[in-house]
């Protein structure tokens, strides 16, 4: 069930009606849990069993970890939790990738084994909820968290539908206390409604429309001049941002309506001036997860310069692989790891504070250029198309010829308008501290006009073909 579908609207209305008639926190949690299961089973009922498995394993191992004093046994429980979660991920997400690459290596050495790939369906949201359950047991192991008070609380923490399939990856220490807070009630605050509206605009008007252009250009990059490839790449960077942050905005808004707070997941990442700044702004819940549970577990920056570089690189490579079982995601992670290492090598993060605005602007441009290159590796899963796109992007051909290349049929001009509109609103939003906070302060009649125009825009720019959120595939 997608947030921007009619069926979800009905689902949410029914849920609100049931919740408004229910008294007591336990009842509310049960209703939310059942609703979350229905939400997930709408896609594929069988895979709810995987979530139940993950919930069961981590809930009971978490309790055991908390009670156990013996360090060796605690370690064993932690390893069991990691194995079950990573085992699920490894089988459902990486098995075919691993077997295909093994086959390729064997063929390199002249072996031709009889080999068939398994037809494994990737369960939606598996990368998100396994990371959530892992962080729960690791936090208990590190004695930073007490276990959930009940299986019901823990089940709801893992399966709460607004964040179940594409994050943000919430932490138990942030969410579990909210389940005990009796003051949290259903509330349609202006902020929550604006967040949902903003998310819909980002997804429907911006991401889906830019996606049509990107798909067309990236399918045959070699026939277009470099500047069209540049525009398509910028469009993709905006598309993926609006698609994912749009989903997150809706998720945060819906959770707020139900009385819960999710952490910020995006903070205008394209205003970043250094790689570490970028990762403090992009998919914050994942990057902080990787930092807390992978980078620090590997030793962080405690083992000297070379080990720090290794840890950075490993974290980014695995972060890339988290997105999907494909070498292009590994390349994406590698490029991000590389730039982090280079910046650390020259200690730019520390020096930049003393730079004047001109240098900061140059740093901003360099960062954005690098991010655009990485997005090409992220988007183009086919190696030959990736190289053709990179070739046009890096070695600019200075051709401005756009006649006879069919741009009139590829939504080129509406794409440029949407792109321009997004950049204007996004910059405005950056300097005003967020568009929803700006709108919240406006007079009712102004807000009414904006909502009216938003409704009209949503109608006219709602693509005729439904496209799911990009991060659903991860």
């Amino acid at each position: 069930m997608l947030f921007h579908t009619f069926e979800f609207l009905i689902f949410f209305i029914v849920l609100i009606v049931i919740l408004s008639f229910s008294a007591g926190m336990t009842w509310k949690k049960w209703v939310l849990l059942v609703a979350s299961c229905i939400f997930y089973m709408w896609w594929n009922p069988a895979f709810i069993l995987l979530i139940f498995f993950s919930i069961g394993v981590d809930y009971y191992l978490g309790e055991a970890l908390f009670k156990e004093e013996n360090q060796a046994k605690r370690k064993l429980y932690l390893v069991l939790s990691m194995c079950s979660n990573l085992g699920l991920l490894a089988f459902f997400k990486y098995f075919n990738f691993f077997s295909d690459n093994c086959l390729w290596i064997l063929q390199l050495f002249g072996y031709e084994p009889s080999w068939t790939s398994l037809n494994i369906i990737l369960p939606v949201g598996i990368s998100f909820y396994t990371f959530q359950t892992m962080s729960y047991t690791i936090d208990i192991y590190r004695k930073k968290l007490k276990p959930a008070e009940s299986l019901l609380d823990f089940s709801l923490f893992v399966s709460f539908f607004p964040q179940l399939v594409a994050g943000p990856i919430i932490r138990a220490r942030d969410f579990l206390p909210q389940l005990k807070d009796k003051s949290r009630k259903i509330a349609f605050s202006t902020e929550s409604l604006l967040l949902v509206t903003k998310g819909l605009v980002k997804k429907i008007i911006i991401a889906d429309n830019l996606g049509i252009f990107v798909d067309a250009i990236y399918a045959t990059p070699d026939i277009y001049p470099s500047f069209i490839i540049w525009i398509a790449t910028i469009c993709f960077s905006i598309q993926i941002y609006c698609d994912f942050s749009g989903y997150t905005d809706i998720a945060i808004g819906l959770a707020k309506m139900l009385g819960y707070d999710f952490p910020l997941n995006f903070n205008k990442p394209y205003f970043a001036i250094t790689p570490s700044d970028f990762w403090r702004r992009w998919h914050i819940s994942l990057s902080s997860w990787l930092k807390d549970y992978l980078y620090i577990s590997l030793g962080g920056n405690r083992g000297g310069t070379l080990l720090t570089y290794r840890n950075l690189m490993l974290t980014m490579l695995l972060g890339g692989l988290w997105h999907g079982a494909s070498w292009n995601f590994v390349a994406w992670g590698f490029l991000h790891g590389l730039i982090l290492v280079i910046y650390r090598w020259f200690d730019i993060d520390k020096k930049i504070a003393s730079w004047n605005n001109g240098y900061k602007f140059v740093s901003f441009l360099i960062m954005q250029y690098w991010v655009l290159i990485t997005w090409i590796t992220f988007r183009q899963t086919d190696a030959s198309l990736m190289l053709a796109t990179l070739n046009k992007f890096l070695f600019v051909d200075l051709s401005l010829k756009i006649q006879n290349i069919g741009l009139g049929n590829l939504s080129f001009f509406s794409t440029l308008l949407i792109l321009g509109g997004f950049l204007a609103v996004h910059t405005f939003s950056y300097f005003t501290g967020g568009i929803e906070y700006f709108l919240e302060r406006q007079a009712k009649w102004k807000l009414a006009i904006i909502l009216f125009l938003t409704g009209s825009m949503l109608f006219f720019f709602w693509p005729t073909q439904e496209s799911p959120f990009i991060y659903f595939q991860f």
Binding site: L193, F412, L451, T454, G455, F460
Partner: protein, 322 residues
């Protein structure tokens, strides 16, 4: 619960959606698009004051290929309307047939040879039906009899569904309006104004682009396996009978094919010509122009140059008025 907040949001967003939806027909007619020609054709046919003698239907090849005024001059003053439009295939043309006014002496349908073989490709898509609907067109019973219910099902959809399906009109208009500014090689004004010689393609493509088009548009094996489909014969006969009942002559013309299309072998030429000749003598009046033009008389893979158009018009006049 702040329920008033929710109602406030829902009311204004929904109003925005509804007003946008109900303004679709007027926006469609005001903004204009490549489909604007449909409106011109419908208006021209509805003008009962001075009906033409000869009406030509077909796609953009005809737009570029037959000069109605030259034809008129050759024939000594008959009034000829070239009511072709981009992508107008046989079934789309058939939608206009009910509007052909009394007094017209002959209707000529231009078709591409491959569409007589791969006949299902003549079905128009919902986009075309939507466009006709928004210009106020409604099929009459005679058109249902001619084309059958399945092809015209879209016209029976509730109006709000058609309006909702048409929501892309704003972005389409934006793209097509800007394209008009950039594509100086296209004479797009003709779409909305010209009923005699509405040519849009004006300059021959550069060599590289031309040969890329040729390569992309050469259907493999088409030329050696070519056969006119029995469905095409049946449908064309039905059209002929329809006009015959109305006292109007109906003819079908097959467009010239660019000899540069790689599969256009001599063998195919004679085979296709034979098939078409047989059809002409046994089934209906079918005029073939397949071998008429040389490669240098094409702007791209299909559209004739002005010289090609002159040759086509003269050849057509010879067949019609001899």
């Amino acid at each position: 619960m702040h329920i008033r907040n929710l109602i406030f949001f829902l009311v204004f967003v929904t109003c925005g959606v509804l007003i946008a939806m109900f303004s679709v027909p007027s926006i469609h007619n005001q903004l204009g698009s490549d489909f604007v020609r449909t409106e011109l054709i419908l208006k021209t046919l509805k003008d009962k004051e001075s009906p033409p003698d000869l009406v030509l239907f077909g796609n953009s090849i005809l737009m570029n290929g037959i000069d109605g005024q030259l034809l008129s001059k050759i024939s000594g003053g008959t009034k000829v309307y070239n009511l072709s439009s981009s992508g107008q295939n046989l079934y789309e043309s058939s939608l206009y047939y009910q509007e052909v006014p009394a007094g017209v002496k002959m209707v000529v349908q231009f078709v591409q040879a491959e569409l007589l073989s791969d006949f299902p490709k003549n079905r128009f898509d919902d986009r075309v039906a939507r466009n006709f609907y928004l210009y106020g067109y409604r099929p009459r019973p005679e058109t249902y009899r001619l084309l059958g219910d399945s092809l015209l099902n879209y016209f029976k959809e509730p109006f709000y569904e058609i309006y909702a399906d048409s929501r892309a009109i704003v972005s389409t208009s934006i793209n097509q309006s800007f394209r008009r500014v950039l594509r100086k090689d296209l004479n797009l004004r003709a779409l909305a104004t010209e009923i005699y010689y509405p040519y849009t393609y004006t300059t021959r493509l550069d060599s590289a682009t031309y040969f890329r088009r040729i390569q992309v548009n050469s259907p493999p094996e088409l030329m050696t396996t070519y056969q006119v489909s029995p469905e095409a014969v049946a449908v064309l006969n039905k059209m002929k009978d329809y006009f015959s009942d109305r006292g109007i002559e109906y003819k079908v013309v097959v467009f010239p094919i660019n000899p540069d299309l790689s599969n256009f072998s001599d063998r195919y030429k004679s085979e296709a010509e034979n098939i078409l000749t047989n059809l002409t003598t046994t089934k209906f009046d079918l005029i073939s122009m397949i071998n008429l033009l040389n490669a240098d008389e094409f702007i791209d893979h299909v559209h004739p140059t002005p010289e090609g158009a002159k040759k086509m018009t003269q050849a057509f006049a010879e067949k019609i008025y001899r």
